[in-house]
Symmetry: C2
Subunit: 240 residues, 2 copies
DNA sequence: AGATTACAAATTGTATACAATTCTGTTATG
DNA sequence: CATAACAGAATTGTATACAATTTGTAATCT
């Protein structure tokens, strides 16, 4: 029950951030309906500004707007998941390469601190903060690389990655990826651009490999596939 | 003076496309004010739907929305121009690499036809269509690559590239780039992935090199700079 | 009883009305 | 005459009202 007292200016930015964070931290799970009226009531604004926020989120593919049927938190398909990680690989290759050229001592300090905090978060079993800090590491790297366009794209991709990881993660915890970041910093500090790129590629591949992206277990999504056998036998099973 | 008789459904999509095309073809030059009332009148809809369209265009960075001051067709800065081409290089590397794996004979036919039409357009001195077809070539390649995310990003980047080329192009016509596309098709058809990537990199670099991206000449943008000499002598020149 | 259709409730899409802000042209003042 | 202050107009931001669409429920018919 928050009320809009956040300065009157940049209301939508504030609301955007709130919803964004809620989705990222999974307080709003994939598939959750985002009713305009409800959100408007929560934030104390009219549907107009909520629509603006939802439009922005939908453009970033974090929510899906179905015509006349409202917005829901995106449920990334397996294809989308693969595309997302593939896109990340290509973009982060560029980011790492550029970052190698431009990185400063101060930057290395910041990155190191981020990795430390990430470790602590996971040590405290604070998964959502861990995920967020891991994302922050990648985004900081993009900031260092200095290409705003790549940075924005990566921000979207990192967010979607979080949705994907949340939705498709297998039992094997993804705690193993922390050291990847450390190694990456070392390579960057050494100015070893080739190695840094290779490490990033492996890192992203490792994350993706830990997911259940086989066509088999799509959970909520592919209803047709899930019920295909049932549908075929429908007349047979027919009961009461 | 078009009226909204386009089926009532997907009005905004139609309007979006109209505005998008107008910007791409430079009927709406960079810097042009896009007043909500005016556009609403033109398309026979209320400001509500125009705002939706402008919001989408602003997300794609084709239009800039300045708070309380309305929307204008984006004037890409030199930094943005460089970032855009850099981003394209990284993304299209990925696109070409993937396309090499998945390209079919039919695809090659389509690409070849696109290049032919592009040639014809330039032969007819139809510059705007030439630019559009050149963009279509790159986008078709992304479609072949099969990664929707990269495809969407590239669509944005290609559009922005058009804005940039239009704004920063030097005297040397960019007619020389046609053969690049042809060579690229050959490399793709041969499955020579390394060569195809190299050709794409050179191609994009060639386009960028033909632009005036030195800090000096920002044309319409830096009014201060343009009129600086005049301003200095202002009191002298002063005449009724 | 089961299926189909008609109606009702809820939600989104669009238009309009009002509030807040910026821009422009005029007037007042040093 | 130049600068500053002000008022009006124009434009954007937000809220609300109405229209269109979808979805759930009940009634009707075979």
């Amino acid at each position: 029950m928050k009320i809009a007292e956040k300065g009157k200016r940049n209301q939508d930015n504030w609301i955007y951030q709130e919803v964004f964070d809620a989705i990222l931290e999974q307080r709003l799970a994939p598939g959750t309906k985002l009713s305009e009226d409800a959100l408007g009531e929560v934030f104390g604004v009219s549907r107009t500004v909520i629509r603006k926020v939802l439009l922005r989120l939908s453009h970033e593919k974090i929510v899906a707007i179905r015509p006349n049927r409202g917005a829901v938190v995106s449920i990334p398909s397996i294809k989308e998941a693969k595309d997302t990680f593939d896109a990340r690989r290509w973009i982060e290759r560029g980011v790492v390469r550029r970052a190698c050229e431009t990185i400063s001592k101060a930057d290395i300090g910041i990155l190191t601190k981020l990795v430390q905090k990430e470790h602590e978060a996971y040590a405290d079993n604070n998964k959502s903060e861990g995920i967020q800090l891991s994302g922050a590491f990648h985004l900081k790297l993009a900031e260092i690389a200095g290409n705003e366009t790549l940075q924005e794209y990566l921000k979207e991709l990192v967010t979607r990655s979080s949705l994907i990881v949340a939705h498709y993660e297998s039992n094997s915890a993804h705690t193993c990826t922390h050291n990847d970041h450390k190694d990456l910093i070392t390579a960057l500090a050494d100015g070893n651009s080739d190695k840094a790129v290779a490490l990033m590629e492996d890192h992203l591949q490792a994350i993706e490999d830990k997911l259940n992206l086989s066509e088999a277990d799509s959970e909520t999504n592919n209803l047709k596939q899930i019920f295909s056998s049932v549908a075929i036998n429908r007349t047979d099973v027919h009961q009461t």
